[in-house]
């Protein structure tokens, strides 16, 4: 007898553990925040407005994936493919933004080795970026399937799980963005 | 090591262990108020635990025997009893509460607040202890002298990895952590020498990062301190003089400090009065002329992994340098 949708439940449990993982990385960022006296810091190294733009991309992609699910439920395959593709584009845009940001920082010799800001910043945002990448790969697989054959219930469940994951990655970013970037304006 | 009488009568448990194990049971054989307070708590806790263990063991011996299977009839199927559950929840709660209160009392008695500069600063190095007496500027290694019956505040620090300062008969452990300074109070109430050890794993020679505490009557302690604060005596014999120059040329000075002759920062034990110390290389060797030569010949063999290199001294260098070090009373 089945009580919950298995892929969704499994993903939810998985995300619980992910949440703990990020909590510890975030805690480290907060713990060391004060201890960085000189050298690069969030306030003198980051570019919040620019990052805000890419943040909006990521948040938007949460909406588009939702629409993708809706249209799949309504069996509007064309719309479904379109929303799914758009989600991937937005997610990719976010990653590119992060790559751009990293390139700039490294060019100014802001590295994990430089000081604790570098260490905590790159570890935290880097692991978030890695999660976005994994999400993109999963979504791309879905897209390929979407073009190959018409979605069966099984794939639909799979998509549901991936969407859940994708929303989680977004939520985490909202926390990171507020903590690392918005505080610059305080 | 002279056998001091414990400040407390040994309880049966300590008798049992002592006779059974023929050891001093340093932890249970205190020589300071701090250690006796800890011992008091140990005894309290020990009796609680023994009581519980006795109950459990008795049950485990009696029940299986009493209720061993005799025939094929199924026994009455009893599945629980609320009253019992409450009983064996509440009683343990009371017991642990009692333990908690006693531990708070002990903790407050053992490390009291710190409102002054430390009398002694002990700095852990891989794998030896640097000992500094800020008031008198004395620096020595692996041998800590204390005045009897006076509250001594020791600051514990580290130069590299985490170590841990522990003298079982004098009191609690305290970690030596790089970038931070911990304090521990010690008041030795029995004259004598007490084994100490590094208790936090710190690498290859953690085993030979031992030391000793010498508690002596104030007068004796003063003379020791005066002796140590003097700069190194100038060598008299020709060999020792030669040894001194070789000591400079052989790069010993790059790591070792001999106050008055040469000054460096402390990478290695201060040798100003090395000859006055009982042991060498953090208790690895008795400080005898033979052992000293042996150490200089092959520190890496006597203490594998230690940070003193084997400088492949020629026999002449060996003898002259050793002769010189022996003058450093």
């Amino acid at each position: 007898m089945t009580r919950f949708d298995t892929p969704k439940l499994a993903t939810a449990v998985f995300l619980a553990s992910e949440a703990v993982f990020f909590t510890f990385l975030i805690a480290a960022y907060i713990y060391y925040y004060g201890s960085v006296a000189k050298g690069p810091r969030a306030s003198n190294s980051l570019d919040p407005p620019r990052t805000l733009i890419f943040t909006i991309c990521l948040l938007a992609s949460s909406g588009t994936v939702l629409l993708a699910e809706r249209s799949l439920a309504a069996r509007r395959i064309a719309a479904f493919r379109m929303w799914l593709a758009l989600t991937i584009v937005l997610g990719a845009a976010f990653l590119c933004g992060q790559g751009w940001e990293y390139a700039g920082l490294l060019a100014r010799n802001v590295t994990p080795a430089r000081n604790l800001f570098g260490a905590t910043f790159f570890t935290l945002t880097g692991f978030h970026g890695f999660h976005v990448l994994c999400g993109l790969i999963a979504l791309s697989v879905m897209l390929i399937l979407a073009f190959r054959r018409s979605f069966a219930q099984k794939e639909a469940d799979g998509l549901g799980a991936i969407a859940l994951y994708w929303h989680f990655v977004d939520a985490v970013w909202i926390v990171i963005f507020s903590l690392v970037y918005l505080t610059v304006w305080l | 090591m002279p056998e001091e009488t414990s400040r407390r009568q040994p309880t049966p448990v300590r008798y049992f262990y002592r006779t059974f194990a023929a050891v001093h049971l340093n932890v249970l054989n205190p020589a300071s108020p701090q250690a006796s307070d800890l011992l008091w708590l140990w005894d309290v806790c020990w009796w609680v635990c023994i009581a519980i263990l006795t109950v459990v063991t008795a049950a485990l011996l009696y029940i299986p025997f009493r209720f061993r299977r005799r025939d094929n009839r199924e026994p009455p199927q009893i599945a629980g009893n609320k009253r019992l559950e409450i009983a064996w929840t509440v009683v343990p709660i009371l017991l642990v509460t009692f333990l908690f209160v006693s531990s708070v009392l002990t903790a407050r008695a053992v490390d009291r607040p710190v409102r002054r500069e430390p009398d002694i600063v002990v700095i852990g190095h891989q794998w030896w202890w640097e000992v500094r007496y800020p008031a008198s500027g004395v620096v020595t290694a692996n041998e800590i002298h204390l005045p009897l019956d006076s509250d001594t505040l020791i600051a514990v620090e580290s130069a590299d990895v985490i170590h841990d300062f522990w003298v079982p008969r004098l009191g609690r452990k305290i970690d030596a952590i790089p970038g931070r300074s911990n304090n521990v109070w010690i008041r030795a109430t029995a004259a004598g020498e007490f084994d100490g050890a590094c208790a936090e794993y710190c690498g290859a020679q953690h085993a030979w990062m031992r030391f000793r505490v010498v508690a002596q009557p104030p007068a004796e302690y003063r003379t020791w301190l005066d002796g140590q604060s003097a700069v190194a005596a100038e060598p008299q014999t020709a060999e020792a003089k030669l040894g001194q120059t070789r000591f400079g040329q052989l790069t010993c000075v790059n790591c070792h400090d001999v106050r008055g002759f040469h000054s460096q920062k402390q990478f290695a034990p201060d040798l100003t009065h090395v000859a006055s110390r009982k042991m060498l290389a953090a208790e690895r060797l008795q400080n005898t002329p033979a052992n000293l030569r042996d150490w200089l010949r092959q520190p890496n063999v006597l203490k594998p992994g230690c940070l003193m290199p084997n400088l492949k001294l020629s026999d002449d260098d060996l003898n002259s340098v050793a002769a010189y070090l022996e003058t450093l009373q």
């Binding site: 089945t2 009580r3 439940l9 499994a10 449990v13 553990s17 703990v20 510890f24 990385l25 201890s35 960085v36 994990p112 080795a113 604790l116 260490a119 570890t123 | 194990a21 023929a22 050891v23 340093n26 932890v27 800890l38 708590l41 806790c45 635990c49 459990v56 485990l60 029940i63 299986p64 209720f67 061993r68 299977r69 026994p75 009455p76 199927q77 009893i78 599945a79 629980g80 009893n81 559950e85 929840t89 709660i93 333990l99 908690f100 531990s103 590299d160 990895v161 522990w166 609690r172 452990k173 952590i177 931070r180 084994d195 208790a199 936090e200 794993y201 290859a204 020679q205 953690h206 031992r210």
Partner: protein, 548 residues
């Protein structure tokens, strides 16, 4: 079907599959029984390896000034011993058991996510092999199983052993989390009709709680490992005091995983005991509800006690008091369990099978270990005894005398279900007594060494009065233990070939795994009996309704 002669390859054999090379079937399998068996066999091998490392240590420590092992070698050995036993033996062993038994006990056909299940196992195996590759690469990790920084940092552990250690543990951690997810989903979703949460076998109950604990504890380790790797590979300063980093933060992160971990290593063992004692006492578990609830209490408390491993750090009295209190409290729910197990035996009809003997021995040794734990939990005592052999004694009493004795009980209890053949009781009794005596011989004296001030993790020690004798006794005990383990391995090997046939339900037990053939068919059940209580098979045997 249970009457087939047993060739281990056929264990849990899915006779449906067309038989090309059997080993291929094993590698490709997603069947929870085969995966479970692979876990058990792998951990047995790692157990023997870790054991032999222990023998090396005990031989080195047998007398003072022994030069059998160089300090560097000794440090690698004790680090690998601890890491192996915890990450490659106890945890995967319990997960393997859970893997094999959970679906059977809840009347399911398989785990909820069979492919993920296979993935978990292979990741775990990969991690284990990676860890041991460090030897091949020239230098095993040598910073202890909790690798305190800065000793574990690039500046002090220059060889690559530490990196192998960190990467291996990351892999194992991910595999463990995946298994935990799988178990949770399985237990929530696949219970057979009528098996409400209050009718679930206690073993499954504890596995469920345990999995939740894994979900919340292991990510802490992964985060810490990641930061350590960033330090070592990218020269960051998370845990080195220079550059403002904090060695103490590593300890907080590690132990906020590490303490829950020690309960992760014992809860399923509690589950085994909760199955074995009732069956061999012919009574239902005493206070099912309390045993189950106390498990939850333990899990909740266990995430709030980590700093009891850090009493000597000098965090200040506030910390020490808080964590002393929470650690002491854990004694209460654990005690509730112990007393309920004892009460289960009361008034029963006790059969002295090897399994039951190990269960009783568990109660005794675990209580001793638990009580020494309580001594540490009263912080000031810990200030004296931390990092001495008293701790070594404690952890072996709870891990070996606790968890592994319980696993031995489980081994003799479920072996017939897994293989279709009973383990020899005669050899079993020898195994039991050798192990019981050898265990206490080895580890009891370590309490005394601790009280006399012998620090742990020393490759040798000065010849202080009594130390040589105590250590020699301990080493002799280890030899006896070696004999015990040999008898066990022999017993397993011989019984696999020529053990008495078990039949479906040799112990006439009450949970669902006994309602199918031994070994169970690939689909587990021909038909799952109705579940109207925690003891479905008892209900079948007593239709008139003897109470359960």
């Amino acid at each position: 079907m249970s009457d087939l002669p047993l060739d281990p390859i056929l264990i849990a054999g899915d006779r449906a599959v067309p038989t090309h090379e059997p080993w291929l079937e094993w590698i490709a399998t997603v069947d929870h029984k085969r995966i479970g068996v692979m876990y058990l066999l792998t951990t047995l091998v790692f157990f023997v390896v870790g054991d032999c490392e222990a023998l090396l240590m005990r031989y080195q420590l047998a007398w003072p000034g022994n030069t059998f092992l160089s300090p560097d070698a000794y440090n690698q050995v004790f680090t690998m011993h601890g890491t192996t036993m915890i990450f490659l033996v106890v945890v995967p062993l319990l997960l393997g058991l859970a893997n094999y038994l959970t679906p059977l006990m809840i009347g399911a056909r398989d785990m909820a996510l069979p492919r993920l299940n296979a993935f978990s196992f292979w990741v775990f195996l990969f991690g284990g092999i990676l860890l041991y590759c460090s030897f091949a690469a020239g230098h095993a990790p040598a910073a202890g199983w909790f690798s305190y920084a800065p000793l574990s940092e690039a500046g002090y552990s220059t060889r690559h052993g530490m990196d192998y250690w960190a990467l291996a543990l990351l892999g194992i951690g991910i595999g463990t989390i995946a298994t935990a997810i799988n178990l949770i989903v399985t237990i929530v979703n696949l219970r057979t009709d009528g098996m409400t949460i209050r009718r679930v076998p206690l073993f499954v109950w504890m596995v469920l709680v345990n999995s939740c604990l894994i979900i919340f504890a292991l990510p802490a380790l992964n985060a810490a490992l990641v930061m350590l790797l960033v330090d070592r590979q990218l020269n960051a300063h998370f845990f080195t005091s220079l550059g403002g980093g904090s060695p103490v933060l590593w300890q907080h992160y590690f132990w906020s995983f590490g303490h829950p971990e020690v309960y992760i290593m014992v809860l399923p063992a509690f589950g085994i005991i909760s199955e074995v004692i009732p069956v061999f006492s012919r009574k239902p578990i005493f206070g099912y509800g309390f045993v189950a609830a106390s498990t939850v209490a333990i899990a909740l408390l266990s995430v709030g006690v980590w700093a009891h491993h850090m009493f000597a750090v000098g965090l200040g009295h506030a910390w020490d008091y808080a964590f002393s209190a929470s650690s002491l409290l854990i004694a209460v729910p654990t005690g509730v369990k112990v007393f309920n197990w004892i009460a289960t035996m009361w008034g029963g009809a006790i059969r002295f099978t090897t399994s039951m003997l190990f269960a009783i021995a568990f109660l005794f040794t675990f209580t001793i270990g638990g009580l020494s734990g309580v001594q540490f939990a009263t912080a000031p005592i810990d200030w004296q005894l931390t990092d001495t052999y008293y701790v070594v004694a404690h952890m072996h009493y709870v891990l070996f005398g606790g968890t592994l004795f319980a696993v031995m009980a489980g081994l003799y209890y479920w072996f017939p279900k897994i293989t279709g053949r009973l383990l020899s009781e005669k050899r079993g009794k020898v195994h039991f007594w050798l192990m019981f005596i050898g265990f206490h011989l080895t580890f009891f004296v370590q309490h005394i060494l601790g009280l006399d001030g012998m620090p742990r993790r020393v490759y040798t020690y000065p010849n202080l009065p009594g130390w040589a004798r105590m250590n020699l006794i301990s080493s002799i005990g280890a030899a006896v233990l070696a004999l015990a383990v040999l008898v066990m391995v022999v017993n397993i090997a011989l019984s696999l070939r020529s053990g008495a046939l078990a039949g479906d339900n040799p112990w006439d037990a009450w949970t669902l795994e006994w309602a199918t053939s031994s070994p169970p068919p690939e689909q587990n059940f021909e038909s799952v009996p109705p579940v109207r209580s925690a003891r479905p098979l008892w209900d079948l045997a007593h239709p008139e309704g003897g109470r359960a």
